[in-house]
Every structure is written in C-alpha cells, then in structure tokens.
C-alpha cells in the first residue's frame, strides 16, 4: 500500500470534512487494487480545490490551467499511449471553462479517464454558482431573492449524449464503491467519466452529506437498468431530485481515437528515435 500513499510531506489544505478527502482515499484504493505502475501513470489536473489532489498523490502529475486538464491529457496520451492517463478536476473547472474540451474529448473517445469532483459550487474562490448548481441556489454571485436562474448541467446525461463510453456516478460517502468504479473506469479502453458527488462543507450548505445520502440510490436497483443500452442510460440519467441514481450508467466498447491512428500502433511517439531524420525525399517533392 505504501507506494500508493499520499506524499506525506505535503499536507492537504482542504477544509475539515471536505469530500475531497474521501475521493483521495478512494483514489489510492483504486490504484492499489489495479496495482498500477506509478511511473507509467500521469495525473493531469485542472485548477481548483479538487485539482489539488495532484499535490497529494505519487504518480507523474501536471497541474494545468483552470478548465484545461483534458486537452493537456490528450497531448500526454498521444505522445505516449502506453501511459495510463487520468484527468481530474471540479464541476466548475470541467463544466464551465472546460465544457468545450469535455464534449470533444468524449466524442473522440480518447483512452483516458476523467474524474469530476462535483460539489455544485466554486470552492477555492469561496462560493460562487457553478454550472452544476441547482436552480434557485443562492451564492455570492446569485444572491436572493432570485438565486441561480440557470438549469444545472447534468454531468452524466451530458457525458452520455456526447459519446463517453464509460459513464458512472458515485457518492463520496461510499468510498469502497467509488474506488471500485474508479478502478473500472481506469481499466476501460476509452473515455471514461465519473461524476463524483461530494459536499463542500464551507460554501454549499444545501447539497450536504445528508442531502446526498437521502437521495442516492444504486442504479442497479432501478427499473429499466441496462448499462449496455444508451437510451435507457440517458433516461435514468434524467433523474435528479428525490432520487439520484449512482453506479455505472453505461459502458460501450468503441474504437478509441488513439487506437485508430496507425502512427500509434507501435512504439509511442515519445520513444521514437529523432536523431538523423532524413528529409531528402520531401525536399525532392519541391523540386
């Protein structure tokens, strides 16, 4: 287990009771269960409270810009497709600035994993409405009486509709289940997304542990559940309110972007010999 332990010298700066602790715990359990080679694993994080997880784990890591984890992860994977690449960030980072990248990474089914810490609020900037905040939510930027006037993005439904091939939701309250889903997502050959529900104890006083606990329900127990059927998955993904389904919504094996490129069928680009490239033949095409 020690190899998967956090960087002990660096103490998390998350608030006491933050859901990110649970996610970090599940992360380490997932890596241990897969026995991942940490030297061959890259965590690509955005910027935000959730992205600080990159400071507390022990793989290769790159802390990118707010919203830009997915394109950086894309570059890493194309450069060396033998690496296990995990992108991670919050609902604000991923669904606000990062939304365009999310849609396109999903439709190209790149073989990477994306963990979204979803606390329905901006935490590190101290409590503004996020694209995942519920209607009517009161925050610093959406004061009463109106509160938030925009419908929240349903991350699972979004991921399903734009072509992610592994889509799950988990609550951080159940670390064992989250860890198991994380491991499955990493193993999945394609773009795998987990919408991880977590409370923000400092700035979201609506969607608390209790709020989630009262609503989450294992998707396997719900009528019409079939993780091979996209229509049914989208239908269940529409549930958000009294009942919030958690578990694996959908899984599909579809050719990946990186797997479809003949240039990546063998050695990664990063390992190719670059000394003495001969360009004589191209020069001749200009003559």
């Amino acid at each position: 287990m020690a190899a998967f332990d956090s960087n002990v010298d660096y103490v998390p700066t998350w608030c006491a009771g933050c859901g990110d602790y649970g996610i970090l715990n599940a992360w380490k359990k997932a890596m241990a269960s897969l026995n991942l080679d940490l030297e061959q694993t890259v965590l690509v994080a955005g910027i935000g409270c959730s992205s600080k997880i990159s400071q507390y784990v022990n793989t290769y890591r790159i802390e990118t810009l707010h919203g830009r984890a997915l394109p950086v992860a894309t570059g890493v994977k194309l450069a060396n497709h033998h690496l296990t690449v995990i992108a991670e960030g919050g609902d604000g980072d991923g669904m606000g600035l990062g939304m365009g990248h999310f849609v396109h990474t999903a439709r190209r089914n790149l073989d990477i994993t994306y963990f979204i810490h979803n606390n329905q609020i901006y935490g590190l900037t101290k409590g503004q409405t996020s694209p995942a905040s519920d209607l009517g939510m009161v925050t610093k930027f959406t004061p009463p009486p109106l509160g938030n006037l925009e419908r929240p993005i349903n991350i699972v439904k979004m991921a399903l509709s734009v072509g992610a091939t592994f889509v799950a939701r988990a609550s951080v309250a159940n670390v064992a289940e989250l860890a198991a889903l994380m491991a499955q997502a990493i193993r999945h050959p394609g773009f795998a997304v987990i919408d991880i529900l977590q409370p923000c104890v400092s700035f979201n006083h609506v969607n608390t542990y209790q709020w989630y606990q009262q609503r989450v329900k294992p998707i396997e127990e719900m009528a019409g559940y079939d993780p091979e059927n996209l229509e049914k998955a989208i239908s269940l993904a529409g549930l958000w309110g009294e009942q919030i389904p958690v578990g694996l919504f959908y899984r599909e094996i579809r050719p990946t972007f990186n797997g479809s490129l003949p240039q990546l069928s063998q050695e990664p680009l990063a390992k190719q010999e670059i000394n003495n490239v001969d360009i004589t033949n191209i020069m001749k095409t200009f003559c």
């Binding site: 660096y10 570059g75 490129l261």
Partner: protein, 585 residues
Amino acid sequence: MNKRYYTCLFGGEAGYGVMSAGSMVAKGANRSGLWSFAVNEYPSLIKGGLNSCLVRISDQPLTAYEEPIDFLGIFSQKAFEGHIHQLRPGAIVLYDSTTVIIDENKVPAGITLYPLSLLEYIPKGGPKIMGNSAMLGAFCALTGYPPAVLVEGMKDEFHSETLREQNISILETVYAHVLSTLPSKKIFPLHFKKGAQPKMFINGNESISLAAIKAGCKLSAGYPMTPGSSVLTYLVDYGADYGFVFKQAEDEIAAINMLIGASFAGVRSIGSTSGGGFALMVEALGFAAQAEVPLVMVNAQRGGPSTGLPTRTAQADLNFVVHASQGEFPRIVMAPGDIEECFYETFRVFNLADKYQVPCIILTDKFLADSSVSQPLFDTENLTIERGKLFEPQNKTSDQPYLRYQLSPDGVSPRAIPGQIGGRHIATSYTHGEDGFYSSGNHEYALNEPAVVVAGTDKLYNKLSAMEKDMPSINVYGPAEANLTIIAWGSTKGAILEAMEQAARQGILVNFLQVLYISPFPTVAFESFIQHMNKTLLIEGNKTGQLGSIIRANTGYKADHSFFKYNSKAFVPSEILAKIKEVLS
C-alpha cells in the same frame, strides 16, 4: 552582371485557376535553371473576388518582387482594372474576351492587347478552371516561354490521366492557334536550361514544416486559421511517413494545451496559427513558461486587430507576442526573414526550446508564409538534435529525491519524462519551489514564501545569459562603413537586400542590421554595432514602429528615420530605394 527579370501576373475570380497557372509558370522556370518568386493575393472567400499570382523570374537568385509586370493574363474585368497600373511599357495583356471588355483608348500606348475566347477551348461540360490551360498556351505563344516546360510540369500537376491529357491538349491547341496569328515566333528574354541543378520551389510555411520534421517533431495540434494553418496541412501531408501525428483541436486553447501535454510527455511538438488564434493561446503560453515545458509556436501574422485582414500581410503582432501572457518570464521570439531562416532557425528553435525549457515563438507573416521562392536544397548535414538537460535515473541516489525544478546557476534543471523510473514529480502552473509545490501545499514554503517566489522567478531569468550566447541574434549585411544603416526584422529582409544591391550600383553605401531573435533582445550585439553607424532608417510593416519601441526600451536608441507600411502589402525594393535616397538627400 545585371540581373534580368521577367514578371507576369495571372488574375481573375477565384475558381479560374489563376494561382495554379502562376505556380506552374514559376515551377517550370525553377526547373529550367532560372529563379522564381511567386506572390499570391486572394481575398477571404471561395468563389468570386479577385485572385492573382504574380511570378517574377530571373537568371539569378531572387529575394523580392516588384509590382511592374511584363505580361498580364486575366479572366475578369476587376483583374484588368486592378492591375492596369502595373503594366510596364511594352507589356502584353492577354484577356478572356468573353469576360473582359477593354476600351483601347484607356490603355497606355505601347501595350499589346490580345483578346481570346479562352473558355471556348474547354471540352463540353468541362470545368471553367481548365481555362487556365488555354491561358498558359496563349502565354507561351505571346511571350516565348517554352510550352514543353509547362507540359512537363502538368505531368506532375495532374494525377488523373484524363485531366492531364485534356489540359495538355488545351494548352497545345491554344499555343498553336495563337502562334499562327503572330508575325513571328517570340523569344523569351531569359534562357531556359535543360538538366539544371534541381532547386526547390518552396514557401515559408513549407520550410518551417520541413524543419519541424527534421527536428524530430512528432506531434502538432491546431485549429485552422489563415495564414498559419498551412504549416499544419504540410505536416499532415509530409509527416505521415515520419510517424507524425496531427490532432485538429476544438479551438486554439485546446491546441496549445495539447502541445504542452505532449511536450511534458517528452515529444517535440509544434503549433501554428495567426494573431487571433495566438490571442486565445496566451494564458497557456505562460503555463508553459511556469511549468518549464518546451513549446514551439508559429504566429504567421495577418492584418489586425480582430478578424482584420485574413489573407493580407502585416508585421503588427510583434509587441503582442513579445509581451503576451500575465506575469514575467523569458521567451524566445525568432522572426525569420527568408525561406532559409524559416528552415534553419526553426530547427535551431526546437533545440533552444528543449535546452532552455522555455516557450518559443516563430513570428512570420502572410507574405513570407505564402510566397514561394526558388531555393537550393537545404543542407541538413550539420544539423544536430540537442535535447538539453534530461533526467538520468542512474545519476540519482535513493536518499536524494528528484527535484524537477532544482535550482542551478544556469536556471535549467534536468527534465524527467513520464514513464522514466525515479523521475515522478509534479509539473505545475503555480509559482513553486524546487519540488514543484505551491506554497500552500508545503509548510516550509508557506513560512518562507517571499524567498521561494524570488528564487523561482530568478531561476527563469537565470537562463538568459546562456540563452543569449546560444542564438545568432542579429545579422548584418552590406559594407562595414555605410552612409545609411537600415534596421528591420522579418520578411522585409528580401526587399531590403535587393534595394541595397541597387543602391550599391548607384554608389550609395547602405548596410542592414536584421534583428533575427527579438526576444530576449540582443542588447549587447545591437549596441556594439549601432554605435559605429551614421544615419539609421527603421523599416517595419506596421503603423507604430514596434521594433523601434523595443529597441528604445532595451537600449535607449532611437533610429534617425523610419519607413512604416501598413497598407496590407509587402515592401518592394523600389520603394525602399526611393526612401534611402530621400533620407540621404
């Protein structure tokens, strides 16, 4: 020996193939021992408008073009009206008599008009673009350009045998017809040689692409934007055999972040865009600098601000790229002046990016990116890949943790590549200490933040002294003693060199200081040269004299005279010569 020139221009609406007609003429001359320079002009549209291809041919190497033309071949009224002022005395105008009506009284004396119903020669149902083969046939007859040279070129141009045969047949039919109407056979003023030493006919963007492949660049990501994106098109075309991967990104922000990801993972990568796309990339430029990830980005300038002039040239992004992004960090800005520098300096920039782990910008413009020039094959013999300091696991002892941002006198720390054993680390966009941690994640830093910040910032700037010695910052051309020194950057170089030749022939001594690497600014080299000079003339393709302001900021020096052009056109030698005379009068 005086250079001899012949300039022809093919013009018409988009869709008539005037640019490929020009290109075939230029390539044919290039293959026959002559030197060609082709300038394409086109508005931002697909059909209609006014496209033109000006081809200047000489018996000696060319670095520039001039506006006056000896032959005008046109398919539209607009093309006639747009180019009539360029006709040299004695020029020939060939025009399609179904689309162009010319009032002979409005044409200066001494101009030969030759109307011909060019489109009539297209086989029934054939596309109007075939009219360009009719035009080429008539061009050969009217000028004496050997038709066999174009027929030979068409064999490469057309992959479909039917199309090839049809076009060759049109060319030969029209050639024979026009020849039969002339009193005698024309002789082209320049001599075509068979079996001449092969030269390339290549533009700036193609040269940059070739350099990238030679430099071992394996990945590019980009979003289409004229005139930058043809670098990417060429890489897609030529790179496949070299294992090269191109990823079209959803936007420029994604593109540059993909490049940073690939570079972090150890692959040399390149992006190419124009000012608007570069504007979107600016935040990530600072990310590359902060994380010390090597980055090579091309900005092929076009007119601005905003959408500006998508297909016209300008040199107005210099201040922007030199200062782009928040905070302070060293960067390399290299502005190639010609095709050779596009190749050799791009290759060098890849090495510099790796050695100093800094973002590098190759600043070109539409004129350089898109104009094709005769160019001997590049000499790649002595080009060596230098990857700079890389982490070597065997040099690490177990009680010594790997520090990605270890402080060192030259500011550069060994870079570990994901997948390397013992090199795990965090690369980051945060201001950080040697281990890559931001102060909030490290108790020691939190107590000592000011010192960590100063050390981290100084680390970036400590790279400068070695970096500056490692780049050919300025080029000097012309005599050591001169009446006038021209100071310029980028694609103005070619026109300046030709103007200097002409000036020298008239006994005017002019030399030229080209600032090739503009950031970091070569203060020492600039000052030591300029202090011995008499009068100076600053030449730039912008309104405000952006290089001039950079020179002033770095050295306090202000050029005596200036010549700024921002009318969407490149400089030509004659106007520079006129300015030289004006300044010295």
